[in-house]
């Protein structure tokens, strides 16, 4: 890979990629209530900032790069890399490849930090959003990033044990989305539901987002950012060529399109009319699902992956809310957690080729149905890592932070709105303030 050849392309992609967190921030804001709109957008901004500083200070050193210093354990005759061992605060001279990887990781962390912001909407403190984002960027994301992109043990499953090409995650389905989704779930558990969300006998009350235009516009912006993030992942990790990059971009768009249409169909069947916010979430679910394997699917398979995500998202949102009483205002758990896991497993099941030499294994990446069951096993092990190692760490981290400084605002603050309570001014000062319209009397 010649850095001079791909650096201009990478720099253009890096300039466009921030549209992904921008889109998510708009969605977080639009799906919350009007009297907390400025708080939601500021939380998103500060979460992105905290996560970026977390990556710069600690995370990049632990994420590591392939063939860079790392912490290794020897088991069953093989050396397994657990964590990067770089220098904190990105000290020392760095090659362009390292700096580009750092920039990409900053964007990944910033985008991932916005996912739980939506789940805590309308009821958590600004300081809690900042603390949770630093936890994610500085401590949790590096553990996954090292396994996905830094030459960690999971990515070596193919070379060491013959399981396909090892753990594959091109665009950050695990480190960005599933980790963000797990963080959103733990946050929703820690905070509890919004005041008035559930009535007597666990009856859920709809608390609609205050601005569907923000939500849908955010979803459209996300597409541009997502394509950039996926292509950056493909170039930085695998040195993908022009043909592969074009296929990845096409697959990303097709998956989003199929997902939005299938969500529209599901909500049309379910509620009589397509639901705008769920369709935006479905679109996002398609983008999430294709992230892991955008390089390795034929376009028809990308449509299938996206369509399945589009069904999974609205059903997941409903299941979590009605069955388990989880109040997730933006649907982040279903969109990023469930669709991300589906995307990771889809690589192991449905990959059709491409990626020769990925993770140091020769030959095309093929899924279980294309004849390589080993790839499916590697992806299952990766998902097992996310649930078995990362979920307890995320859960414990949130419990600890909440114990040190409680996340949730008082019920009076919730009633007043977080804009006024935490920021001292409303986002829309000329609006008439609503008070208790969602609360049973």
């Amino acid at each position: 890979m010649n850095p001079d050849a791909w650096l201009p392309v990478v720099l253009v992609l890096l300039c466009v990629a921030p549209l992904a967190p921008l889109g998510l921030a708009l969605m977080n804001t639009g799906l919350g209530r009007a009297h907390s709109a400025a708080h939601a957008l500021l939380s998103s901004l500060l979460a992105l900032a905290a996560a970026a500083l977390g990556i710069w200070s600690l995370g990049f050193a632990w994420s590591g790069l392939a063939h860079a210093p790392d912490h290794v354990v020897h088991l069953a005759g093989h050396a397994w890399s657990l964590l990067g061992a770089g220098q904190f605060f990105v000290r020392g001279s760095a090659a362009p490849v390292q700096l580009v990887a750092l920039l990409w990781l900053l964007l990944i962390a910033g985008t991932g930090a916005l996912i739980p912001v939506g789940a805590g909407a309308d009821r958590w403190k600004l300081g809690a959003a900042v603390g949770a984002a630093f936890l994610l960027g500085g401590l949790l994301l590096p553990l996954v990033a090292h396994q996905s992109w830094g030459g960690g043990a999971l990515s070596r499953l193919g070379v060491e044990l013959g399981y396909g090409h090892g753990w594959i995650d091109v665009g950050g389905a695990a480190g960005l989305h599933v980790l963000g989704g797990l963080s959103a779930l733990c946050l929703a558990w820690t905070l509890g539901p919004r005041r008035g969300k559930f009535g007597a006998h666990h009856t859920p009350n709809a608390i609609p987002g205050h601005n569907a235009v923000y939500v849908l516009f955010g979803a459209l912006l996300s597409l541009v950012g997502w394509i950039s993030l996926n292509l950056l992942g493909a170039v930085i990790q695998g040195g993908a060529g022009a043909g592969e990059l074009l296929l990845a971009a096409i697959n990303t768009l097709l998956a989003a399109a199929a997902a939005a249409l299938s969500t529209a169909a599901v909500t049309r069947l379910r509620f009589g009319k397509p639901d705008a916010s769920l369709c935006a979430n479905g679109w996002l679910g398609g983008l999430v699902a294709i992230s892991a394997g955008c390089l390795f699917f034929a376009p028809a398979v990308a449509v299938l992956v996206g369509a399945a995500a589009g069904v999974l998202v609205p059903m997941g949102v409903e299941w979590l809310e009605l069955r388990w009483g989880v109040d997730d205002p933006t649907g982040a758990i279903a969109v990023h957690g469930l669709a991300g896991i589906w995307g990771l497993l889809a690589v192991g099941l449905l990959a059709t080729g491409g990626g020769d030499g990925w993770n140091g294994v020769a030959g095309p990446v093929r899924g279980w149905l294309a004849g390589d069951a080993g790839q499916g096993r590697a992806q299952v092990l990766g998902v097992a890592f996310l649930l078995g190692v990362m979920l307890p760490l995320v859960y414990g981290g949130h419990l600890l932070l909440n114990r040190l400084r409680p996340y949730r605002v008082s019920l009076d603050a919730e009633r007043q709105g977080l804009d006024l309570h935490e920021l001292g001014a409303n986002a829309f000062p000329e609006f008439v303030a609503h008070t208790d319209e969602f609360t049973l009397h």
Binding site: L75, H78, L161, F198, W324, V326, A373, A384, L387, E414
Partner: protein, 60 residues
């Protein structure tokens, strides 16, 4: 129940890892058996955590 869930999650992961180390690709059938058991423990752990937190801290 929360402690049981927090035990099941890493224990399931440990079983899956042990299966991968003991049974490389050439002995995939044994790996599948143990990895499925490990993943099953993890899913049970997630469901338990969902149950623990279901309908708690609902403000009135």
């Amino acid at each position: 129940m929360k402690l049981l869930a927090l035990f099941l999650l890493p224990a399931g992961w440990a079983i899956a890892v042990a299966a991968a180390l003991l049974f490389p690709a050439a002995r995939a059938a044994a790996f599948d058996l143990f990895c499925t058991a490990g993943l099953g423990m993890e899913i049970a752990g997630v469901i338990l955590l969902l149950r623990v937190h279901a309908w708690t801290r609902v403000p009135r």
